[in-house]
Structures are given as structure tokens and as C-alpha cells.
Symmetry: D2
Subunit: 360 residues, 4 copies
Amino acid sequence: MKIGILTGGGDCPGLNAVIRGVVKTAVLQYKMDVLGIHDGFYGLVNNKIKELTIGEVSGIMPRGGTILGTSNICNPFRYFSLVNGQKVYSDVSDQVMKNIKANGIEAVIVVGGDGTMAIADKFNKMGVPMVGIPKTIDNDLYATDVTFGFDTAIVTATEAIDKIHTTAESHHRAMIVEVMGRNAGWIALHSGIAGGAHIILIPEIPFDYDAIVKKIYERKGAGKHFSIIVVAEGAKAKGGDVVVKKIVDDGTEPIRLGGIGNRVGDEIERMTGIETRVTTLGHIQRGGSPSPFDRILGTRFGAEAVNLIANKDFGKMVSLKTPDIVAVPLDEAVGKQRKVEPDSGYIKAARLIGISFGDR
Amino acid sequence: MKIGILTGGGDCPGLNAVIRGVVKTAVLQYKMDVLGIHDGFYGLVNNKIKELTIGEVSGIMPRGGTILGTSNICNPFRYFSLVNGQKVYSDVSDQVMKNIKANGIEAVIVVGGDGTMAIADKFNKMGVPMVGIPKTIDNDLYATDVTFGFDTAIVTATEAIDKIHTTAESHHRAMIVEVMGRNAGWIALHSGIAGGAHIILIPEIPFDYDAIVKKIYERKGAGKHFSIIVVAEGAKAKGGDVVVKKIVDDGTEPIRLGGIGNRVGDEIERMTGIETRVTTLGHIQRGGSPSPFDRILGTRFGAEAVNLIANKDFGKMVSLKTPDIVAVPLDEAVGKQRKVEPDSGYIKAARLIGISFGDR
Amino acid sequence: MKIGILTGGGDCPGLNAVIRGVVKTAVLQYKMDVLGIHDGFYGLVNNKIKELTIGEVSGIMPRGGTILGTSNICNPFRYFSLVNGQKVYSDVSDQVMKNIKANGIEAVIVVGGDGTMAIADKFNKMGVPMVGIPKTIDNDLYATDVTFGFDTAIVTATEAIDKIHTTAESHHRAMIVEVMGRNAGWIALHSGIAGGAHIILIPEIPFDYDAIVKKIYERKGAGKHFSIIVVAEGAKAKGGDVVVKKIVDDGTEPIRLGGIGNRVGDEIERMTGIETRVTTLGHIQRGGSPSPFDRILGTRFGAEAVNLIANKDFGKMVSLKTPDIVAVPLDEAVGKQRKVEPDSGYIKAARLIGISFGDR
Amino acid sequence: MKIGILTGGGDCPGLNAVIRGVVKTAVLQYKMDVLGIHDGFYGLVNNKIKELTIGEVSGIMPRGGTILGTSNICNPFRYFSLVNGQKVYSDVSDQVMKNIKANGIEAVIVVGGDGTMAIADKFNKMGVPMVGIPKTIDNDLYATDVTFGFDTAIVTATEAIDKIHTTAESHHRAMIVEVMGRNAGWIALHSGIAGGAHIILIPEIPFDYDAIVKKIYERKGAGKHFSIIVVAEGAKAKGGDVVVKKIVDDGTEPIRLGGIGNRVGDEIERMTGIETRVTTLGHIQRGGSPSPFDRILGTRFGAEAVNLIANKDFGKMVSLKTPDIVAVPLDEAVGKQRKVEPDSGYIKAARLIGISFGDR
């Protein structure tokens, strides 16, 4: 049997553990051949497909990124191209079908987030046996307890907050750390608690600048002249944010204006006069050697995905239902987001030890 | 209300997160006073008790160890002392009762393993309100899914195995890494999978030297001239181990003979002629800054233990039933060990990717 | 004898090693008393001075920051205050003299950068025995080979670049990493080489956007679809940079516009159409546990500074002349910057392995 | 021009930076071809030689070990083999000469320690152009200020000592950490100072058990109930060590008896009754991702070695004369060891802050 594997969407620590788990299980247990599809669905459209051997996956588990490459935005059902300088979208799914056939691929393992899973589901329904492996560094996929990459992101963010701590303390500053999390505040919540933050701002709990300032003054009153504020990139002020100064675009270059972290920093400085500094962690959260947890989960996902193929149990996505790996139908897995519940145990514990979410 | 807290047994990353969680919750939410009992039950016997303020727990979360100190072996019901050079054991529990009363302590939070919980249970039944927080770096407590310290130990062990990997590969050696786990193989299993070990030996699966050697030769046959073997300190050969050479004690000094890791290394070298090297990780597994997971779990345990006290729900131990913190009766919590089940998902996935447990 | 110690300027890993080295040497070897002056010269003006014991410096070496606190901008000869909302600068050096006398301080150890050393030199000439210890995370002090903090900053920056590497590779992007270095490119140069950067931009070598783009295309031609560009915050384009779009300030809030890293990212994206991402490391470079090198150098500086005091060799700054610690007159130590020489061994080696400095 | 490169002796972090530096410089600057010789001189004897491309060295710098493999003991002038079960040594240098010719190799870069350099010197004198790059993790090569691998080893050892610290403190124990250093105490000295050790034992300063115990009691008297003792594997008691108990060998298996660390631990426990624990760091000190310092130094060494070849300046070894890379004749480079001088600045500073070397 010949199977293919591709990784789609943003990169994430643990992808190489998945790939290694897939290849080792397929080759050693089931004598399958594995083809590596490069750069996500782009490689399936453009036939960037090569054999993937045990030798090639040897030693890759501790490395970040994906040896297969990925592409963020490639959807074969709405494939972007430039024709005479014009953006054109077209359906090139038949090209995918042709390449799959030409390469003799009998099933495809697709590693990706919500968007990738939706595409996999479509192809599966068109007759290409597909098995999904969930990937999201933000931890916002509904259908799995957690997925690989998230733990490593928290480790990276927590280490950064630890480092910021000493500067804050030595300088009596309010330090803002912006972490990933456009729709869900998981990384901010976990790294904020672990990093000893005093205020955590997440999309699920709209915040109030007055409440933030109150907390800072409370700390000052108790002799603590610094505060650590962890902000998810998708955090929002109640009733929308204050108006930013206008930017007049008089040229051709784009301009980067930083995100909510900068907004919060500016506003606190304006309201309190306390020196603030903003650090936006950005892409370092996606990189680095995966944590043991992510390596193990990635390995288990990879091995189980091959099991599903061996059992001809297609159209499924592997999923963690702690401590077991189970399979859920692809079409049930997509379209629902896992958010932080404002009255979950994590939030309650955080409030008990005095962390403010900027809402009261 | 005035409460006490002590940490007993071997130290473990996350203890300071627990202490901080307890003090912050008690002082900030419930206006309780917290007394720190030093060096475990030894401090309760000998009245080493001092107030513990918010200021003192500030900044301690990222640090390993316990700011309260601990003692491994102190049991007030069988208290060890030397009288005229003779070892004497006596029941000094009345002294504990006296000190609790004298200090005005109305409830005690006890952080420790199975032995510590059994003592707490006894005192609770004697009328001292007790709440337990489980601690075991080996992850072998039955009553909780997992506890703090284990994740950090795995991170430390995995980092060490990662480092050993390059030496093994560069030198064509069999490298043996002995990790903690006297009764249960959790650390060996997790760090072994995460570290890319080829053979993992755990107490739950008795091993066979022939099976180990077979795996090493299998790898050699496939062009891999090195092997990584992770051994739990409690791993055992089927039918007991081979006889060690006699040691004649002709002096007064004790002698250290290394553990099972050394045995396995010697035996492989003898059977195959392949150069082996043994690394016994030892106490570095107990140290270091706790991982984010352990900091968060420790914080939640601490906060919830105070909640139990505030609700006068004594005689309980907090416990993780993922993702919730629940309370279980102390007497149900003790005496049962959590072992690796030989047909669990972790073992199966490990076998699928070709890891040998030395049993076949 | 009674001595004081203060830390001034931005915080820096290794300050606590210095403080510990000073206290241990002073107390253990010379039976001196040490007074800790808090928040830099601000504490000397405002009498924030407390005894500093061996117990208080125990265990502080692995921690970032400074247990004494610091202040960035406090100059007693030009002391800033707000009088009726107006900024006023005045000379309060007499207050410093008074506090030194009142506390019985016979000599002061001052840890800081160029500005701090200049102030120390003034006080020394006014009769207060002063000894300096150089501190600059940017490594731009002329009078010492290197100082503590720099090695740790490079470790932090290199780790970040390592993490960025896998993302760049997986996504075929140009990744820009902006590191510290306003006047000198030491951190960019060292972390750039160590992190495997393809282009390094430093203040000492003005760059050309065309040369950057040429290098990126060169790599693309060789099949490498990603590039890592490390930029010192003080890097400058030849002939000044292109005009940024105007920003109309219609409100009261300040706005943060990112630095040269963002400029470079925008320009590359505009010129090549290649996706770019910018990461500004910011304050995490100042934090974290100091590296062994910085701990050792800090300790040696601290011990030697006390030796100078014991020998009444005042008005000096300790300095590393590898591998020795020597003393240089304070007034010779200030006012000269150490820059990267464009034809130094480091730059030559970097060019040999194909690194571009954007100048050709 | 066609050049070869081999790595000999024990592995060491930074070897891959050297290899990468050599290949990039040779290929990009001088259009040379590079052949990788595998497993040290063994590969030169047995013709394990393959082309080494830019692609193959891409991304290897952050990895420990050597992609070329190494062999500890292979000397072509005294080549070990088993003939009819008998150990036989023979001179196979003619085979090396033949292989060099057959592969068209015009010069060889040899990375290794003292033994490897001596062999390179011999071949150079026999007419094979050789250039050496010094490698020793112990830092005991006389001819270079320092070499790569040493800084990483210190980082690893210091991290381990940091972890041991919290356990020691929590448990009131004497913790012994045995680090590498058979002939010279550099690693023990540096990691001991950086790790906050209280006692450091090195080969250059014979120690006295009474002096060790005195220091432990001194600390106890000052209320410090734990001590950290860092021991180089080559440390020795004054007048030789106490007699170990006899071991009667009644079987075929070898037995491992731990080294000086265990001896010191046993003796302290016997003399004081204080609980001791011994950790022998072993091979993890040779592994891991090289520190930025080691990556940069390795890169510079590699680039400069190719420069020497390009200039036909053979029979030299590159060497660090801070901050420059210089070339020294191979025959001047070998046979002399760099030891810690008992009255060097490092030792003096260590004594000033109260560290004992067990000699007084």
C-alpha cells in the first residue's frame, strides 16, 4: 500500500514527530510506502511529491518546523493565481485527483487546522481516502482535548515572561507581553498563570482599561512597583477600543502598527504615567524543539493515523480524549472552536490567587 | 482563621508554586493567616513554625525545591532518634498535637506522597483538620491523573537523552540512560518516547537480555550503529538478574555499585562487544525550574486546597481528574499505586514505531 | 569599614553575581559592612539605603535583574523633578554627599555604563572614594574587553533565531529579527553568526536594500527559499532610509512605530513580493538567568572591586583584559565607545562563509 | 582543488559548526571540492570517504556531535586489529597515503585533540599537506586560549549544579557533582564558580578530607545546612586516596565502581554522618546544541583552516589568541597541557568569595 502525507497551515512544534511516527509505523508495521507531499496542498496541486524513507525521518523529532514544508493559504478548491497581474481564484481539485492517481497514492494523511480538515473532508467525500491529524498552536480546535505545539508555545511564552519579570522588577515598570491567540486565549491564560502575570487579557473576557489601572494601583499600594500584563493578540476592550490616531498613507509602503499589546501599553502609560514596555513574542512561539509532551502526542497521532488507514477507517481525524487517542468523523471535527470558558477551573484558580482579567 | 502548610518527602519541581498558591489564596481571598511548617513533619514535631507572608512567596514559583524545606523520613507515629547510639523509634504524635494547638493552627495543608498522606489521614482522624496535596515525581499515585513535578522530570530526562543521542551517533555506541522510577516506569516511558529511545526498560515489563541484544543487532543490520536504551531504576530482568560479583567488605567505608543501568550496560557489552556507556541522571531530575504545566497544576492544587479548608471539607486530598480538580477522601487516596499498563495506548504507540521493551 | 554598592542604568544579567561577589568578599575576607543603595543614584539622593547581608545574597546568582533595583536616568548633578507640572533639572549632589556621610559610607562601588561611570568619576573627584564596575549589555564600552550580560544576551538572541529558523524554512519566508545595539552591532554580529543568519545589518556598516535583495535572490537561485536577516536596532541604510508614511497626530496618545526591523521587512516585501515576518526581541534580551560566563565575570569583577577598596585604590574601574581583571582610571574609562571594526576577524570569517552585511 | 576533512577523538559540541565553516568557505570562496572522511582516521584507513556538499551542511550548526562520525582510538601508525582473537598493532599509514591519492585529496583538515594532532603532524612530515583544528572539551590544550565545546560543557554542568542546588537546600544534604576533567580542572573550576559551589576539587590542587569537612561544618555553624561540592574526575586526595574495599571477581562480568565523586561522597558521609548524594554528569557534558560562543569559534576555526590551505600554509594548527585566530606549527602545538594555575585570577576570586579547594 502507498500512502501520502502533507502538512498544511502555519508551522508548529511537533510536526516532525508526527511525520516520523507516520513513516515508522507505516514502514515497520505495515510495510507501506510513504510519499512526502511538500508544501501542503500546494504540493498536491503541483506534484511536489517524493518518497519518504525511514532514514529521512531519523533524528527529526527534536527539530521544530516540518521537513515537508507547508503553505498557509493553499486551497485547491479556490486556488489563487496571478493572471496578467490580476488575482484569480479557480478550482484545481481535478489536478489534485490526477496527481494522487499518477503517484499511486491510496490514502492521504493530512496534518492541519480547521481549514485543512475542511479541505480533507471534501476530498474524502470525492473518493480520496483521507485521515486527518489536528494541528493548531492556539489550541482552539473543538474536536480534540489538546493538540501538539500548544505545550511548546506555552513553554516559550513562559520563559519569555520569566525573563521580562526581572526587568520589570528592577525598573518598576509595567511590562506588557503579547502572545498568540487570535480567537482563543489559551496561550495567554496558561503562560500568564505559569509566568506569574498579574493581569491576563483574553478574547473571551472583554477588558476595561479602568480595571487594569485599578489592579496596577492596588499592587503599588501593596508596595509592588511593577506589573506583568499578558495579552492575547485577539484580546479586546469592552465596547471596542479607543480610537487610534489616523495614519495618512502617502506612499506605497505598508506600515506595521503593532497590535493590541502596544495599544494596552500606550493606554496604561497615558492613564498612569508609569513607564511601560511592550514585547510582542511573535514567531518564536511557533519555533523551537518540541516539548516532550508534544513529541509524544505527535508520535501517537502519527501512529494512530496509520492504524486508521490500515483498518480502512477513512474520513476520520485522530483526536486526544485524555488519555486515549480516538477517531472522530472529519465533518464533525470542523467548524467549531474551543474557547476558554470564563468560569472554568483555570480562570477560577487564577482569580483566587489574585490575577485580574481586566473585567472588574 | 490560621492554617499551616508543610511539604514532606523528596523534593519536586512545583512545590513552590503550591506554597505560593496556598498563601495567595488564603491571604487574598479568605483573609487567613498562613504558618509555614519547616522540614515536613519534623517541623511539626520540633515546632519549626513561622508566619508565611505574601511577600515571602513573591517570585518563588520559577524556583525548584521548596522554600519550606522537607524531610524524607519523618513519621511522628514512628519517630526516629538515637539514644546512647541505639536507634529508637517512638510515637511523638502528642508533641505534634501540642505544637498545633500552641500555634493556633486550625487546619494543616500537607503536601507529599503516599507515606505523607497516610500520616495526614491519621492526624485527621485524631481531630486535626487536614487537607492533602499529592506529590510524587514518579507519577505513581493512584488517586490523581498526574501530579506536578512529573512533567519537569520528563523535560529534564528528555533533554539529557537528546544530548546523549549525538554522542551515541558520533561514536557508534550503545548508550544507557538510567532514570527515576522505582516501582513505575512512567518517566522512562515518556522520556524514552520523547527522546527517541530504541529500547525502554520499565518495572512493569520484565526484560530479557537476549531481546535487547536482538534489537541492537536489528538496528545494526539496518545500518544504525548506535542504540539508546532508557532504563527505569526499578526495571528488572525476567527471572531476576544475573549474579553480581561478590564484594568483600574489609573496611568501614560503604561502596556504591550503581544500579540496573550499569548492569544492563555491562551485560550488553559482554554479549555484543559493542562499546556501551551508562549515564545515571539521578538528582538533576528532581531539580530545576518547574515546567509551565507543573507551575499551573501546583497553583491550582494550592488554591483548591484552601477552598476545601474554607468549606471545612477536611480529610480530603485534591486530585486532578483532567481537566478538573476534585477532592478525594484521604483514606481512599493512599496505598494504591498507579502503574504503566503494558497494553496502554502509550506502550502500543511506542511498539508501533519500533521501540522494544526488551520482552520479545 | 563600611562600603556601599549601587546598580545604575538598564538591567543586565549578571548584576546579582556582582552584588553577591562584592558582599561575600567584603564580609568574609575583609570584615567590611556592606550597605545596599536601592534604585541606583536615585537611592543615594533619596537615602534608600539598607544593610546587605550574606544571607540576602545567598542564592541570587542564577537570577536575572538586580536585587538592588536600578534607575535608568537618575543623575544627581542634573536631577529631574516636576515642579508645578514643569520639568526642572537641578544639582542635588550635596544631598548625595550628606547621605553618604550620614550612613557612614567610606567608599561606593558603582555598577553601570558610561553615564554612570562619568557620575562616579565626578563624585570621586569631589572626595567620595568610588570604584566602578562596567555594565553594558551592548558590549560597547571601550575600556573593557567585554562585560557581563553580553554573553547571556547573545544566548537569548541565538535561541530566538534558532526558533525562527524552522518557521522560515517551513514557510519559504524572509524572517527579520531585530536585536539590541543602538550604537554598536556586537549582539547582531555574534547572534547572527551563531544563529546561522544569511544577512546581518549593523550600525558600523551602512546597508543597501539592493544588496539585501541580491543576496535573497542568490539564495533562491541556489534552491534556498528562505532567508534569516538579523538587524541591530541602530542599523542604517546608506544615505539614510526611505521616507516613512506620514502620521497625523490627532489625539493625545503616543503611537509605537516599530524600528528598523519593520522598515527592512516592509522594504524587502515591497521589492521582492516575498512574504516577510519581523520579530523584535526587545526586553527578553535583558532578562533571564545569566550564562556561566557572565556569572563568573560578574563574580570576579565584584571580588576585585572590593580588593581595590581594601587597597585604597580609588577612582578606578575594574576591567577585563583577557584573561586578567585589571583596574583602569575612571576618567580614562568613559566617553569612548567600542565598535565593531568592519575588517575585524569576526566580520571576515562571516563573509567567508557567505554572510552578507548588506553593503555589496 | 580537493580537500578532505575528518573529526577524531571524543565528540564535542561545535564540531558541526567547524565542518559547516570549512565547507562553506571552501566551496563559496575558493571553489574547492570537499570530501568528508567518516569516523576519523579509521575512515582514512578504510576509505570511508564521500563528497560533502553545501546542502549537507545546511542547518547542522545547532546540532551536537559530528555528522562525519568519529573514532576515539584509531592511530594509523599503530592500528589495532584482532587476528585469531589476538590483539595486533600494525602500521597502516601506507593505506592512508594510498586512499588520499586515490581520492585526489590535496590537503586534509584534521579536527581533534593532542593525539590527533600528533598523527596529523606525522602525515604532514610524510608529505600529506595537513591543517589542524584543536578540539578538547576539557580545555587542556596548551596551544590555544580555549577551544569550542568547553563553553557548552560548562553551560551543561552549571545547569545541572543549579538543579542540584534546590535539592541540596530542601534536604540539608551534601551534594557531590562529578564533572569531566581527567588532567585539568577547568570544567570543575568554571562550573563550580558559576553554579555557586562551596567546595571545588581539581587535579591541580590535591585535597584533604579534613579540609572539606571543616568547610562543611563552617557552613553548618553559619546556619547553612547544605553544601555543594564539584569534583573533577581527575581530582586526587593529598597522599593518595584511602583504600577501597576489595572486590573479588568470581564471574565474567566487569563491574563499575564509580569514580572520585563517589569516594568523596562516601568519605564525607562516614566522617560527618551528613546525608550525601553523588551525581556523575558523564556524557551529557559532551552533548547538546553548542553555545553561541562555541558555534562562532568553530565557524572561525573552520574558515581560517581553509584560508591556510588556500595559502598553502600547511603543517599548522589554527588557534585562538583572543580575539584573533592565528596559526601555530603542528609540532609546537602537541605534547603540552594547559592546567589551572593554583594562583590564577579565577582561583583567587573563588577563594575571595569563600570557595574552598579542599587544601586548607
